[in-house]
């Protein structure tokens, strides 16, 4: 009998450690394998038992359930992988997450790990770039820039030292994919960064993550030590004679540090103030040297591209959005969690069918996609397929693919005000449209709330200035939630809803 219990931060927050204690007491010498999360957060803490017929699931499990589960008195939910939420997914980036012990390198290899790195070691830098370009992978942090092109810029740059910087500063509300990978399959990120290093000639990597993620920091740091001991990292990567090493750095609670130039300043030990571009970080990044800055999910997707081939990856998707996207369904939702799927599934299907509607049982009013800088979509936009261009065409963005569901009690003017307030608190202060504009935005929304209808025009003007004049996405994209809320719910801003065109 093999027993698996999630130790993801979400499982811990829902009581997995008390379940682990009860299991250990009941099982005696039978070990419990602690794994990452399968991503079905509403079933956490999720317990799996394999009695030789495959892994069966129970969840959410309370400590008091353990004796009855072990005695066979509580029926399982069936085989874990046949639970519809999992069965409907295409798990490429998250293929091992929740399956293996995150810190067991042998299990990692047994499940396809390191195959990509081994293949990459036999390729030239140029061949690796071709593979990346053919995969169609675009930046999963939100900007959607082709990863292969970014890598090629760094590869072609001349410098004594280049860097791979992993942006793990996952501050967007509604997103937890980076956290889940770091806690559930850290070797995958390490392998992806090593491949990026080999391809571009960078020998040092940094994972810049958040102080709000203590579990992820601890697992990543331990995984790096283990990878170094096993020769995956260090002066002689898998016996190739080539070097790549990395370390984890922790931010200090500044949202803007998720912006890549601000992140680089923070990594250098400065205030996390945004830099003007150009120069591009690919040419003058960390310590003014050529630097790849990629999101966790972009880098953690690299191993499977090299393991299974670019064509396998690119076969999934829609239009110019190739491969899969780990959609994080969150907020007021019945079946919240991580759902990795090929691009192209409609927003409505994700929210209503996969997510099962709201947790409160009330009607869905709106969803915010892509974090605090993402647009609110009302139900009339639920047929939008998940893809970079498709969301852009509807006045939104997919960002880091977090979907936050709100029921009909949501106060949309309040949410628009919150977006401005958040921008005002988190603005780095470098550019005026963001620093001052966000404060004026809060004031203007207060005027609208007090019944000053003329202030709506001021608000839309202000949003135009912030969009066009801000240095980075914080000031530039804060208008998305504000204007989209105004557009979809004008009556909450004291406006008369115009007849449908």
């Amino acid at each position: 009998m093999k027993v698996y219990l999630s130790q993801d931060a979400a499982a811990k927050a829902l009581g997995s450690e008390a379940v682990a204690a009860a299991l250990n007491e009941a099982l005696g010498d039978t070990p419990v394998t602690r794994v990452g999360s399968r991503g079905m957060v509403w079933l956490e803490p999720l317990l799996e038992i394999d009695r030789g017929q495959g892994r069966e699931a129970w969840g959410p499990v309370a400590p008091g359930d353990i004796p009855a589960i072990l005695a066979g008195d509580i029926p399982s939910l069936g085989l874990t992988e046949e639970i519809p939420f999992l069965a409907k997914q295409t798990r490429l980036t998250f293929q091992r997450c929740g399956v293996i012990d995150p810190l067991d390198l042998a299990q990692y290899e047994a499940h396809g790990g390191l195959a990509g790195l081994r293949r990459a070691l036999g390729l030239s830098g140029e061949q690796m770039i071709d593979e990346m370009k053919a995969s169609g992978l675009r930046g999963r942090g939100g900007a959607g820039f082709p990863t292969g092109i970014k890598w090629d810029t760094v590869r072609m740059a001349h410098a004594d030292q280049k860097y791979i910087v992993c942006n793990a500063d996952e501050g967007d509300s509604g997103t937890f994919a980076d956290r889940m990978i770091m806690e559930g399959d850290p070797f995958c990120l390490i392998e992806g960064m090593a491949i990026a290093g080999l391809c571009t000639g960078a020998t040092q990597g940094y994972v810049y993550t958040r102080s709000e993620y203590p579990d992820a920091v601890a697992v990543m740091r331990r995984a790096i030590e283990l990878a170094r001991e096993a020769g995956v990292l260090g002066g002689d990567v898998l016996g190739s004679g080539r070097a790549f090493d990395m370390e984890v750095r922790v931010g200090a609670g500044a949202y803007v540090c998720g912006e890549e130039t601000s992140l680089l300043n923070s990594l250098e030990g400065k205030r996390g103030v945004v830099r003007a571009k150009p120069p591009l970080p690919a040419l003058e990044g960390f310590l003014s040297r050529p630097t790849v800055v990629n999101n966790v999910i972009s880098l953690a997707t690299v191993p499977v591209i090299f393991e299974k081939g670019a064509a396998h990856y690119a076969d999934f998707g829609l239009g110019r959005s190739r491969g899969t996207i780990p959609v994080q369904i969150a907020g007021n939702v019945k079946h919240g969690g991580l759902f990795e799927t090929a691009f192209g599934m409609s927003l409505g299907e994700l929210v209503e069918e996969i997510g099962g509607g709201t947790a409160s049982g009330r009607p869905v009013k709106a969803v915010q996609i892509g974090g605090p800088l993402g647009a609110y979509f009302g139900r009339e936009k639920f047929d939008t397929p998940f893809g970079y261009e498709e969301f852009d065409g509807q006045g939104g963005l997919i960002g880091h693919a977090g979907v936050v569901v709100f029921d009909d009690s949501a106060d949309m003017l309040g949410m628009a005000r919150f977006a401005m307030e958040f921008c005002a608190v988190e603005s780095c202060g470098k550019c005026t449209p963001c620093r001052i504009g966000a404060v004026r935005g809060v004031e203007t929304l207060d005027r609208i709330k007090a019944g000053d209808g003329a202030a709506v025009e001021v608000l839309t003007d202000l949003c135009e200035v912030m969009k066009d004049g801000s240095l980075c996405a914080l000031g530039g994209f804060t208008p998305y939630p504000v204007l989209s809320a105004l557009e979809a719910f004008p009556e909450e801003f004291g406006q008369v809803k115009e007849a449908a065109e």
């Binding site: 931010g251 200090a252 990594l267 977090g402 936050v404």
Partner: protein, 163 residues
């Protein structure tokens, strides 16, 4: 500008001999200031004012530059927090599940008007913007312990347990 009495004088200080090793440990790192500040705060619970000139000297920065970095980041404290720190997430996903009402209720139960520390220094309540627990909102963290689907009753119980 006229010189003002130093605010730093009223803040707790720590012996330099205790601070220096925490700085020295990271001197060879690339971009060492944040790791040093984290280490100092982990050791003392805050960044003592007299760490600033030591950091400035070690890194060849001005004291203004070091102070600027400390003040930029929400995490760094200039004075110790209460014995327990309760962080309640206020980001959108948690708001969709009632985080605002939860925060208001907890503050009122603890006799606080806004985020801050109780008069008996027992609890500091802070806002946090996302703990990555957005699918089990609202989320909170008491000292290092994560709490999903947080309720007033659940948080009260956790606080009682932390005494």
């Amino acid at each position: 500008m006229t010189s003002q009495p130093s605010i730093a004088r009223d803040l707790p200080q720590v012996a330099e001999a205790e601070i220096r090793p925490l700085i020295d440990r990271h001197l060879s790192a690339e971009g060492p200031l944040l790791p040093m500040l984290h280490e100092i705060q982990a050791a003392f619970g805050f960044v003592p004012a007299n760490a600033v000139p030591l950091l400035a000297e070690a890194l060849n920065l001005t004291r203004a530059e070091v102070t600027g970095v400390i003040s930029f980041y929400h995490d760094f404290r200039k004075a110790p927090a209460g014995r327990h720190v309760l962080k309640i997430c206020r980001a959108e996903a948690c708001q969709s599940m009632g985080a605002e009402a939860l925060t208001a209720r907890m503050l009122s139960l603890l006799g606080l008007e806004d985020h801050g520390t109780t008069a008996d220094s027992r609890v500091t309540v802070e806002a946090v913007y996302c703990l990555g627990l957005c699918a089990c909102a609202p989320a909170a963290m008491l000292d290092g312990q994560l709490i999903g689907r947080a309720s007033v009753e659940g948080l009260e119980k956790a606080l009682e347990g932390a005494a």
